[in-house]
């Protein structure tokens, strides 16, 4: 019989290292970052153009331009394009990012050669048909109308709008009329200005073979084009933080968001704040989750998070709670924040958080796709890969006093917006 009273010995000494990508350059200068490993013969190729919100001449034009790439080219109708991509078991996705436009092809390595020409045609010679744009607008208008009945969505939209301002690239929200204002010529303009070879990076992960790179060079490495000079002016940030109550009639729960603008990953306090956020609300064992869900049962989920873009970042706490426990929840949120500002975190709690973060990082680096996601984020935010080692160093060595000081510096109530959306 094992002694069940005693925990098996825990090792804290796992090797965490970021596999550096191979960097190659296509004939026209487009850099290709490649990570080839794994057990499956699958590939993911992701083209990234710096053509997101900071580059738009009109709201939503970046997102619409990308979404419309799938709706037909100058030579191939949308139906034929869909038919061919599906036939080879490929999937094309256009995930939404604030700074960049990303176009991704997932496929079996053996079908890469059949799919790549279509993928290139789709990206460089889109048709942008008026009729397709009108259905895109209509579908998204209806989606927004549905989204605006969800109080978690409303709360998220509002807090980012308050943090950055309603006309700022990182702060603006979409409404049915924002979609309605999109014109075909806007998409053509945006495509011409920013879908250029000097504005592109390619990320290749999975298991490639000897044909993969020559194919990329053949279809993406020949044409040369120049981007427009991007705008540098951003609408200034607005007012002092305040508490905002919004009503969504008949809500059975209340959505709460508490947060503030912060900084990008290059800021000297980023790594430390990353750990502070973990302790506060970054994982299941965090203080918010332990107190507000596991002790009080006020909610199914509560979290805090830090998100960064190339030129900025923000932090917020989010939860949906029963309508009758809104005030107690807010009280407990501030109690947890103030406790972090007042008392140094115990060695035991710091150790658990550190171990969790290190193990979780190992999972985040498991396999070619995961590794590339991290590498890509660093490259796109213009951060040297060594910064990752610095982050791991901070996770391993940060002390309790530093964490308390960061809480005192960044989590003061007067700096935090509060958005409350309930009945």
């Amino acid at each position: 019989m094992p002694n069940r009273k005693i925990s098996p010995k825990i090792s804290e000494d796992y090797q965490i290292s970021l596999t550096a990508p191979q960097v190659l350059t296509l004939d026209n200068g487009i850099p290709v970052y490649e990570i080839s490993m794994g057990t499956q013969d699958v590939l993911k190729v992701e083209l990234v153009f710096f053509a997101g919100r900071p580059y738009e001449h009109k709201k939503l034009v970046g997102r619409a331009t990308t979404a419309m790439l799938k709706e037909g080219t100058q030579h191939t109708s949308a139906a034929d394009l869909a038919e061919k991509v599906d036939f080879y078991g490929g999937t094309i996705s256009t995930p939404v990012n604030l700074d960049s436009i990303n176009v991704v092809l997932y496929c079996l390595t053996k079908h890469f050669g059949s799919l790549l020409p279509l993928f290139a045609e789709m990206i460089y010679q889109p048709a942008f048909l008026e009729s397709e744009l009108r259905s895109y607008v209509k579908n998204n208008q209806q989606r927004v109308i549905v989204d605006l009945t969800k109080n978690d969505v409303v709360a998220y939209r509002k807090i980012t709008e308050f943090i950055y301002g309603k006309d700022h690239p990182y702060g603006y929200n979409s409404f049915p009329e924002t979609y309605g204002d999109l014109e075909r010529s806007d998409l053509e303009q945006h495509h011409k200005d920013y879908f250029t070879s000097d504005n592109c990076k390619i990320f290749l992960s999975g298991r490639s073979n000897r044909e993969t790179l020559p194919l990329l060079n053949q279809y993406f490495g020949q044409e040369k084009s120049k981007k427009k000079t991007p705008p540098t002016y951003f609408a200034p940030k607005v007012e002092l933080p305040q508490r905002v109550n919004l009503s969504l009639p008949n809500s059975l729960q209340t959505a709460i968001r508490v947060g503030r603008g912060l900084f990008d990953k290059k800021h000297p306090d980023f790594n430390g704040f990353y750990m502070l956020n973990m302790i506060l609300g970054g994982f299941f064992g965090s203080r918010l989750m332990t107190n507000i869900r596991e002790e009080k049962g006020y909610t199914y989920n509560i979290f805090s998070m830090v998100d960064t873009m190339s030129r900025d970042g923000y932090f917020y706490i989010g939860t949906e709670v029963g309508n009758q426990v809104v005030a107690p929840t807010i009280k407990e949120i501030y109690a947890e924040i103030e406790e972090l500002q007042r008392t140094k975190v115990s060695a035991e709690e710091l150790k658990m958080t550190r171990n969790y973060v290190l193990g979780n990082t190992l999972t985040m680096l498991d396999g070619a796709f995961n590794t590339m996601d991290l590498v890509k984020t660093l490259i796109l935010e213009d951060i040297p890969l060594q910064q990752f080692e610095a982050l791991i160093h901070t996770v391993k060595h940060i002390d309790a006093a530093t964490i308390r000081n960061l809480a005192q510096k960044y989590l003061n109530r007067e700096d935090l917006w509060e958005v409350i959306v309930g009945p």
Partner: protein, 415 residues
């Protein structure tokens, strides 16, 4: 191809091991053969509430999460109509810790009254967050009740009403645990950077002395064949109308499952599929449309759902779906169309095997279906399908008398 070994402990616990040296991690999956289909109609939502309690302390361990987090790992679980599934992922060095954790909560829980009180509240908030406070969030409550008359699939896993969860007692908890959470009602899978020898030794050490139980024989009524079209019109506080059609279809345990699954793909999976192309892109009658099978072990449902475009009546939208269904039944599908969907499935399966945790969860589920080796046969089950198999399935399943229809009629004024 997922290679694995298998052995069984004297107490009846089935153990599967998949070695994968390409990952630094080990994933553990513990599947208990109990789901919401095993609940009483008066105590629904219990299997899922119980899943929450599995994290609230066991005989020798007060805090499951503290320990796994200290070991650099993470744990979670899900419950559905058929199973309750727990999974952990840790750096390979700390594999033994999850053996300790999972075996201790299989041995016995600490049955803490306060934990039960808190988790009842947490689950009621989950009920609100996922069902009651979301537009169309109660769709499964309506649809399940409409499509099933006697089978316990007639209530959703979260429970019929929050009250059932609120009324759960400690006696219910204890009873459920000793009835179902026994080694001879579970499947353990260990996948990742480990060896069969290590897993054999640790399984014997930590799980070997847990006594087996007497598992009640499952007595679930078979759902009788539906004879007439069902319809429910639900006037609801939603911003736009929505339409759901549910057809009885073969379950996972049935060899015809694969034909039904690919039929749902042909109807509406991917941008070249039929309903997507014709009704969403060409005729623009819908602003979203989808089709899928529920994938239950007992006979399940093939669902078609969509939201009509502004200005299109729900009747028009629905008639257009039926027209497509009649067309597929009358004309059948071509070799090329079937091949396209087989290719898509091959791709999806290949991608899903790139993740060690996925592999562990899937191995456990296929073992429950009868034999984990089925996981490697799956692609062949699809490849062997002929157009005539799918045509037959379409004619059998896609009929009015086999259909339950749910309409949401929007009463909310927008803008």
């Amino acid at each position: 191809m997922i290679e694995f070994s298998r052995f069984e402990l004297a107490n009846g616990l089935k153990v599967l091991v998949h070695e994968d040296r390409s990952t630094p991690m080990v994933a553990m999956d513990v599947l208990y053969n109990v789901g919401s289909r095993d609940e009483l109609p008066s105590k629904t939502g219990f299997a899922h509430l119980f899943e929450h309690l599995m994290f609230s302390g066991s005989t020798n361990i007060d805090d499951f999460d503290d320990i796994i987090q200290n070991a650099g790992g993470e744990s979670n679980a899900f419950t559905n109509s058929d199973i309750t599934n727990f999974y952990d992922i840790v750096p390979a060095e700390n594999m033994e810790t999850v053996f300790w954790l999972e075996s201790d909560r299989m041995l016995s829980l600490n049955f803490d009254e306060k934990a039960l009180a808190v988790q009842r509240k947490v689950v009621v908030e989950e009920f609100k967050e996922t069902c009651l406070n979301q537009p169309y969030g109660d769709v499964w409550h309506h649809l399940a009740e409409l499509a099933y008359t006697v089978h316990p699939y007639r209530w959703p896993t979260i429970g019929k009403v929050p009250k059932h969860v609120e009324d759960a007692t400690m006696d219910d908890v204890k009873d459920f645990f000793y009835k179902y959470y026994r080694p001879n009602n579970a499947i353990l899978v260990v996948a990742g950077n480990t060896t069969l020898a290590q897993v054999e030794a640790l399984s014997q050490k930590w799980f070997g002395d847990i006594p087996p139980g007497k598992i009640p024989k499952r007595q679930i009524p078979t759902e009788p064949k539906q004879l007439n079209f069902n319809q429910r019109i639900n006037e609801a506080q939603v911003p736009v109308d929505a339409l759901f059609l549910a057809f009885h279809a073969p379950g996972r345990a049935d060899e015809d499952y694969y034909a039904a699954d690919i039929l749902s793909d042909i109807l509406c999976n991917g941008p070249s599929s039929r309903l997507y192309r014709k009704l969403y892109k060409e005729q623009k009658l819908f602003t979203s449309i989808d089709a899928y099978v529920t994938g239950n072990i007992d006979p399940g449902l093939l669902i078609i759902e969509g939201k009509p475009a502004t200005g299109v009546t729900i009747e028009t939208a629905e008639a257009a779906i039926w027209q497509e269904l009649e067309a597929i039944k009358a004309e059948g599908i071509s070799e090329a169309e079937l091949q396209k969907h087989k290719n898509k499935i091959e791709s999806t399966l290949c991608f899903s095997e790139a993740n060690v945790l996925n592999k562990a969860i899937n191995l456990a589920f296929f073992e429950l279906l009868g034999d984990a080796q089925l996981i490697n046969e799956e692609v062949n089950f699809y490849q062997r399908l002929q157009p005539s198999d799918v045509d037959k399935m379409a004619r059998k399943v896609l009929t009015k008398n086999n259909c339950s229809e749910l309409r949401y009629q929007a009463t909310m004024m927008t803008r």
